[in-house]
Assembly symmetry: C3
Homo-oligomer: 130 residues x 3
């Protein structure tokens, strides 16, 4: 169910996959999602036809290694789980992709069980909770 | 108002359009949106500069025909309308794009009337409901 | 904190940047965000591997200059601030990118303070408000 969209600059396939793996492992470790609950869109922008813009907001220096990770999931996760998720993403992105924690932006969007169809034209979460 | 973002792998223009048409017709049939209420971003990923990652979560086997459809709309639609929407997207994606229902992920994001400007720098829904 | 995703058709780098600048300046003017609070993904679609679909909904005539701007920010902004934002985006997009206001779609997604990590693996807004 977490649906993850990751945007990076000038990243090759290997780097994209490493960042995607970091976010996925962090979701498993911090939120407890099943390992096969994997839905990601990873995009590397070339700086011409598509680009990222950023600055040093909140006193954090960022550079072109910047990564934006947007996570959509059902509501219900606690603040502590979200805090653990951010920490774990930063740690694993450093470990897997040599990405500095200062370059990792994460944001969460929440919806509800009825808002997901995982395939087959049905709403799996609505059915299992009903 | 529904804003639709569709992501696919190795899809040509014709296939992208067919999937976009399936989602749009389903929104008309299941939710009752006007036919010209069409706002879609359709992206085919090449698997190198951008890619999709997925697995067989919830016992559903997926392959590279996978399509992610993300729909943003105002809150207020009933659970039954959403269920009908998922069913209709799956049926029409099969009919228009020969897409297996197991390969279609749909998720819904909701916001409110004031959160939309359809053009001209004004919030059309806020005005008409005010 | 506002995270902005902009999609356009056949736009060169200069045009993408002009639109991005218009949205950012409008957020500063209408919402009061800090100037360096900048997180944008700007994408030009080529109409083949990726595309935008649209129509003349709400009696507004659109063409291939169309721009979709999706803004994610914390809840708490007033309706008046959002109305001012739409007006200002339209005005500045015209001024900076010669974009007709009829071609500018804006939508807002809201979340909360705990839903953001601006870097370093922590939730900056949750900390400062706690």
């Amino acid at each position: 169910m977490p649906f993850v969209r990751i945007d990076a600059l000038h990243a090759d396939r290997k780097r994209l996959e490493a960042v995607g793996r970091a976010v996925h492992e962090a979701l498993i470790d911090a939120i407890g999602i099943p390992r096969d609950d994997l839905f990601q869109v990873l995009t590397s922008h070339d700086g011409t036809r598509s680009m990222l813009r950023y600055d040093d907001y909140f006193g954090i220096h960022r550079d072109d290694d910047i990564v934006f990770a947007s996570i959509t999931m059902r509501s219900g996760r606690t603040d502590d789980q979200k805090l653990a998720l951010y920490r774990r993403i930063a740690d694993l992105a450093k470990e897997y992709a040599d990405l500095e924690p200062r370059n990792v932006l994460v944001m969460i969007h929440e919806n509800t069980s009825i808002d997901w169809s995982l395939g087959e034209g049905v709403a799996q979460y609505a059915q299992t909770s009903g």
